[in-house]
């Protein structure tokens, strides 16, 4: 970011958030043995990777990146995932849900959505890699369970989060001490909001998968949400397919992630749109969090991010 500060010896809030995130990332690398960064090619993980790059420059990013691949992806996202990893020279580890299905580690849920079965695949990949610290791009503004989670989130040897057993986090003193088998999930973007992410993407000129920007797409309406016609997401009987100008606010499993109507085809327009938008990111686009009030809390307890 350029150094137009808020005043003499003052950082803008975005610069302060960047400084905090870089401090956290460095702290993990200094104190924990085998960090890995969860990297899907989605906007939050791309911002995370940029921050990791900045934290260690001019040295390379000193840890690999890991993608839990449901097999239900948007091609544009995978393309950028692979390209960014190659540009930075970081090792990309792919934990494949289709492989895990084949190995019998998980079984396909009857509704065909793979969000829930991501968790065992993630935990398996973490165990195989021996990763003790896992960076995620989660933000506290996303969900009320996340609002109470620490930046260094302690997980037991089943990867589970226990909201009643969290370590107090005072000043910038993070406690990453663990016993064998335990791990720490680390969320350097905890204090960022969706608008901060987009403002940062704009300020840094960060490239994102094209589906974040408004484009024409064949969609259908299901429960008030617009889903793209995709090999894993077909209209059911009575669901009419039409072309709409849409963009994605989040990029997850293609069978679960909905698009929103939008004319915002540049980062500037998206920053404006996000600044004035009236629906939360997850409420607008994530079928998986709609099932219950406490959907995220339950998934975190099971070891999900």
């Amino acid at each position: 970011m350029t150094r137009s500060t808020a005043g003499r010896y003052q950082l803008t809030q975005l610069q302060a958030l960047e400084a905090e995130a870089i401090f956290i990332i460095r702290e993990v690398v200094a104190e924990l043995e085998r960090p890995v960064l969860l990297f899907s090619g989605g906007k939050d993980s791309i911002v995370m990777l940029r921050l990791a790059e900045k934290a260690f420059a001019p040295a390379p990013v000193p840890f690999p990146v890991l993608h839990v691949d449901t097999g239900h992806n948007f091609a544009e996202v995978l393309e950028l995932r692979d390209r960014r990893a190659a540009e930075l020279g970081v090792q990309l580890v792919v934990a494949s849900v289709p492989d895990a299905l084949e190995r019998g580690l998980v079984t396909e849920p009857p509704d065909g959505t793979r969000n829930r079965i991501q968790t065992p695949v993630l935990l398996d990949a973490l165990e195989r890699g021996g990763y003790t610290a896992v960076f995620g791009g989660a933000r506290r503004d996303e969900d009320k369970a996340r609002a109470k989670e620490r930046i260094f989130s302690f997980r037991d040897d089943f990867g589970q989060w226990d909201p009643k057993n969290q370590r107090p986090e005072v000043w910038g003193l993070y406690n990453g001490r663990i016993h064998p088998g335990e791990s720490i999930r680390v969320f350097p973007l905890s204090n960022w909001t969706e608008l901060d992410i987009w403002s940062y993407i704009q300020a840094e000129g960060i490239e994102l998968p094209s589906i974040y920007y408004a484009h024409e797409r064949e969609v259908f309406d299901r429960g008030g949400m617009l889903y793209a016609v995709h090999e894993v997401c077909r209209p059911r009987e009575g669901e009419e397919v039409f072309t709409a100008r849409v963009r994605y606010r989040t990029v997850g499993d293609a069978s679960l992630t909905a698009a929103v109507r939008s004319e915002a085809d540049t980062v500037e327009k998206i920053v404006e749109e996000v600044a004035t938008t009236r629906i939360t990111e997850r409420g607008a686009t994530r079928g998986d969090d709609k099932f219950s009030e406490a959907a995220m809390e339950d998934r975190k307890r099971e070891g999900y991010f």
Binding site: A19, A59, K144, V170, W171, E272, E293, E297
Partner: protein, 431 residues
């Protein structure tokens, strides 16, 4: 970054950051007040409002219960308690706000200490009908113990006392008298009704006798830039960057975050604990070199001479440096429910980027946070208790007094068996 603030979004990017901690008892309307701030600054989204409206109807509330916006985890709803600090966010064109929303009752001290440790401002709520209660005093005391530079007392539920100036003035007097015993640098008292919105975002016509700012106006304008210590240069080395390849074969940079003062290229500096002096060759970021570094910038410092510098060392100035010491006097808040602090016990101590081991030499007194009475009968320090201790560390700490610098004066104790963070400490004197 854009410097032409033509739109709300663009302005938000040049806005600065204010972190504040809220505290209050169960029924004084803290959740409603936070809900009101989020709602009136349009931080709340339609789907969240819809969900709160539905929940309010289900509960039979006559109005949209804004307190439900800050409703917590299912585990909390089931047990009817608030487990932990929740972080919430809102922004206005002037500032972004991070709220550390700390529950008033269970685990109050631990949570309040956690929330207040990084706060620029503490917001304490009282119910106008009840006036100051034990908890209001306790919250104010903890805010000052943690050296939160600004304190706001929101006298809530003014609508229930007919917006009486007399009621407000009496509470203000009580609180000011109490605050005189504490070290409160900056106190503001605001009469509000969180439920009805009076004096929360805009000045209320129902309090014509009040000539101060609305709560939000105060939060937006309170001057926090000068709260940081810009005099004593402090830079704890976090990580040594050594690419050892290509064009950067001989590069050696010390990465860290500024925790005090201002450093510039060319400055003469001293590295502790070795005490060697050299000059700053460059201060770098991934975006290029900078002319100066100040808190809370994360930068990489390169030195002119090749010295043996590693994580936990501190870069400061030759004539303004902490005295390395193994004897530390500190106020400690005990945060663990399954153990207690007692003389002779050993812990890991994390201070800046340095970790050592510490033994408790002495528990000088326990402080009653309600009466401020010092209990010198010894014994131990249990959950949520605060006391003054003397520690002896295995390696010297490079600490300042907490009142001079909250970053270089704060530490945590970690139980080496359970790995839990068991205490937060504030250095009162070194050596």
């Amino acid at each position: 970054m854009s410097t032409t603030p033509t739109t709300t979004a663009a302005m938000e990017r040049t806005a600065d950051l204010l972190r504040f901690a809220t505290a209050g008892s169960v029924d004084d309307g803290k959740s409603t007040l936070i809900g009101r701030l989020l709602y009136d600054t349009k931080t709340v989204f339609e789907d969240q409002i819809a969900s709160v409206e539905k929940a309010s109807r289900d509960r039979g509330d006559e109005y949209v219960n804004l307190a439900l916006l800050t409703d917590g985890l299912r585990a909390e709803r089931e047990q009817g308690i608030t487990i932990d600090v929740a972080y919430r966010y809102f922004a206005t064109p002037r500032r972004k706000f991070i709220i550390a929303d700390t529950p008033g009752h269970t685990q109050y001290t631990r949570n309040m200490v956690t929330g207040a440790s990084t706060a620029d401002l503490a917001l304490v709520l009282v119910d106008a009908r009840k006036g100051l209660v034990e908890q209001s005093r306790r919250h104010a005391f903890l805010a000052t113990l943690l050296q939160v530079p600004h304190l706001v007392l929101a006298v809530n539920k003014m609508d229930l006392v007919d917006f009486s100036q007399d009621v407000f003035e009496e509470i203000r007097r009580d609180f000011t008298d109490f605050a005189a015993k504490l070290d409160v640098p900056d106190l503001t008292v605001v009469p509000v009704s969180a439920l009805a919105g009076d004096n929360v975002v805009t000045r209320s016509e129902r309090t014509p006798w009040y000539d101060g700012p609305s709560l939000l106006h105060h939060l937006e304008n309170v001057h926090v830039a000068s709260d940081r210590n810009l005099v004593d240069a402090r830079f704890a080395v976090q990580y040594v960057i050594r690419p050892q390849s290509g064009t950067h074969r001989d590069y050696r940079g010390y990465a860290g975050q500024m925790s005090g003062g201002v450093l510039k290229p060319g400055d003469e500096v001293m590295v502790l604990p070795s005490g060697f002096t050299t000059r700053i060759a460059a201060i770098e970021t991934a975006d290029g070199p900078v002319d100066e570094a100040f808190p809370p910038m994360s930068v990489t410092i390169r030195l002119e001479d090749e010295l043996d510098v590693s994580r936990g060392d501190m870069i400061c100035r030759p004539h303004n440096a902490p005295t390395p010491t193994q004897d530390v006097d500190a106020m400690v808040c005990w945060m663990d429910e399954s153990s207690a602090l007692a003389p002779g016990r050993k812990y890991a101590i994390k201070h800046t980027t340095r970790t050592a081991r510490a033994v408790v030499k002495e528990l000088q007194y326990r402080l009653d946070v309600n009466t401020l009475h010092r209990d010198e009968s010894g014994g131990q320090l249990g959950l949520n208790e605060i006391g003054r201790v003397r520690l002896r560390t295995t390696t010297p700490l490079l600490a300042d007094e907490y009142r001079r610098n909250r970053t270089t004066g704060g530490f945590v104790l970690v139980d080496e068996g359970t790995n839990k963070t068991v205490a937060a400490g504030m250095v009162t004197s070194t050596g």
